[in-house]
Amino acid sequence: MSLAAPSNRRLRDWLLADVPQSRWQARVGRFYLGALEFGRNPMAVAGLTMVVLLVVVALLAPLLAPGSPFEQDLTRRLQPPSAQNWLGTDELGRDIYTRVIHGSRVTLYMVILVAIIVAPIGLLVGTVSGYLGGWVDNVLMRITDIFLAFPRLVLALAFVAAIGAGIENAVIAIAITTWPPYARVARAETLTLRNSDFINAVRLQGASSLRIILRHVAPLCVSSLIIRLTLDMAGIIITAAGLGFLGLGAQPPAPEWGAMIARGRDFLLDQWWVATIPGIAILIASLGFNLLGDGLRDVLDPKQR
């Protein structure tokens, strides 16, 4: 690398310029520094690799595992891993490799749905609360605190009891118990922005509170929320798998990892692979997000190290 071509060198100088010529250059330069810092942390890079792997596997699932995850072959039940079934077969003769690969789609689907529900709710509650202050703030934060003080899994169980099992209902149950920290993050961010000059300027121009919150405050809170989401992803994956394991999330025959472990439990002592392999998939997915989140926090918040 020391023999970098001149053009590389110029690019590097441009990225690290002390006096950037444009806002864009400054932004790219800052990103470059962050990426360098991130790249020096082997754990974070490993985490990023695992997350990218998960996404790629989910996107390319039909290519990586051409068979159907639902196809049964009762003559080949509970076969150990072999050349024909790389990771063995389950109690209905379905190929576990195919099911684990396709299961990544179910997991990502649930995680993304939770994120799509939780982030806007947290953003709205947090920014409104922080910007308006006063009794609105008191009431909203009190509600947030109440939800923060609840046991999440048990509450999710109770919600599923009320609305029935299934992927979408599990997502709703997880979302209901996950949003409070996002409201807190968004509120904290809003409080730092609230009295800044540019917000005052917009206010003096006669913009309504709604417009200021939606157009000027909320967009600036998004990046903190995204970091928070990365940190929470692993927890969401594990909760979703836990609900699936209890039979309250994805229903059979969906190839959901937690539900697959639950089925494999009946054959655990003699056919270990049925329960073991989906668990490794969960571990890789959630560990990847945890490592990535840890690395991101190191880069963005050096104080925490």
């Binding site: 003080a149 048990v154 169980l157 109770a158 807190r184 836990g242 439990r265 655990l268 959630s286």
Partner: protein, 352 residues
């Protein structure tokens, strides 16, 4: 993640206004949280697609009977009145009747809760006894190999699904190595031989001086405790590490070193003393999260605790039992939050 915010939340109550005002605010906030919990279970109870009257009278009851029970249960009154009645019942310890065991839910819970407490307590002990020293070691050797190994192990503890780890533990230590006993609290032939005095198996068997059964109970307890303890350890170790790193950076630590104190005294005598206060909060919160983590662990190990009770009631559409269990776990959660707040105030000299 939510737990990390509790220290500042606790500190909020301690601002200049003084103790009395702080205590008052604390009480109000606890009461509101409890009210919120009851409101949530109330709403869930109304949304459930199970007709509570039908559940009580059976589907072959006469219309008059159905109507009379409906009135008795107060289901014709306005919602806020129903909520008020519901709240009163719960404050009197009436959580309804389980459809499956046909006993009051409250009695059921008293019967199942000790097993969960036993599990969570021993798991927390594992977390404290291993997690704190390991976390301190990671902080002292920050950035070196030992630190990286500990960080990865702790992150794995965060990331691994506890129910899967439990199954793997059973597979390895019960099936293949035969080091521990299998699921349940006792072997079947010991079941019912010891009177439940406290409900805590180790204490009950020791009181009865049934040492065979005692050791059998230990052998059943080891694996679920270790699995749940790993989870607790990961959390405690991580927090200890970050608290310690912050302390070791302070100037008083440099002063102590310059004075020529041994590294051991600097770390344990000076820095660790300042870490203990926030750690107490962490341990209390970790205990609370174990009460919840027990739900999945108990399912795997067929451990007859509150978690197993809740999930089994769920499958039998025994909604009073599910909500009763939720209320009890939620109340324990709130209680432990309160406890950690109070300990924080009592232990931290700056708040006096």
């Amino acid at each position: 993640m939510a737990q990390q915010q509790s220290a500042p939340a606790a500190a909020r109550f301690l601002l200049p206004s003084g103790h009395a005002v702080g205590a008052f605010r604390l009480i109000v906030s606890i009461a509101l949280t409890f009210l919120g919990l009851i409101a949530v279970t109330f709403v869930i109870g109304r949304v459930v697609p199970i007709d509570p009257v039908l559940a009580r009278v059976g589907d072959r009851a006469l219309p008059e009977v159905y109507e009379r029970v409906r009135l008795e249960m107060g289901l014709d009154r306005p919602l806020y009145e129903q909520f008020w009645l519901y709240l009163q019942k719960i404050l009197q310890g009436d959580l309804g009747t389980s459809v499956i065991t046909s006993r009051p839910v409250f009695e059921d819970i008293l019967h199942f809760f000790p097993a969960t407490i036993e599990l969570a307590t021993f798991a927390t002990l594992v977390g404290v006894l291993i997690g704190i020293p390991v976390g301190v070691a990671a902080a002292v050797y920050q950035g070196r190999l030992l630190d990286h190994v500990i960080r990865v192990l702790a992150l794995v503890g965060y990331s691994v699904p506890v129910f899967w780890l439990g199954l793997m533990g059973l597979l390895l230590f019960y099936r293949h190595l035969d080091w521990v006993a299998g699921p349940g609290r006792l072997d079947i032939f010991y079941d019912g031989l010891v009177d439940p005095v406290t409900g805590l198996m180790l204490i009950d068997t020791a009181l009865a001086e049934e040492w065979d059964i005692f050791w059998n109970a230990v052998s059943h307890l080891v694996l679920p405790t270790a699995i749940l303890g790993y989870f607790s350890l990961a959390y405690i170790c991580r927090m200890t590490r970050s608290f310690m790193i912050e302390q070791l950076r302070q100037e008083y630590v440099t002063t102590a070193r310059v004075k020529g104190l041994s590294e051991f005294r600097v770390v344990w005598g000076h820095a660790f003393g300042n870490v203990m206060v926030p750690l107490v909060t962490v341990v209390a919160l970790s205990y609370a999260s174990l009460l919840e983590g027990a739900v999945l662990t108990e399912t795997v190990f067929a451990w007859p605790g509150l978690g197993l009770y809740i999930t089994q009631s769920l499958f039998n559409a025994d909604i009073d039992a599910v909500l009763g269990g939720t209320i009890v776990v939620g109340t324990a959660f709130i209680g432990l939050n309160l406890l950690s707040d109070i300990l924080y105030r009592v232990l931290d000299p700056r708040t006096r």
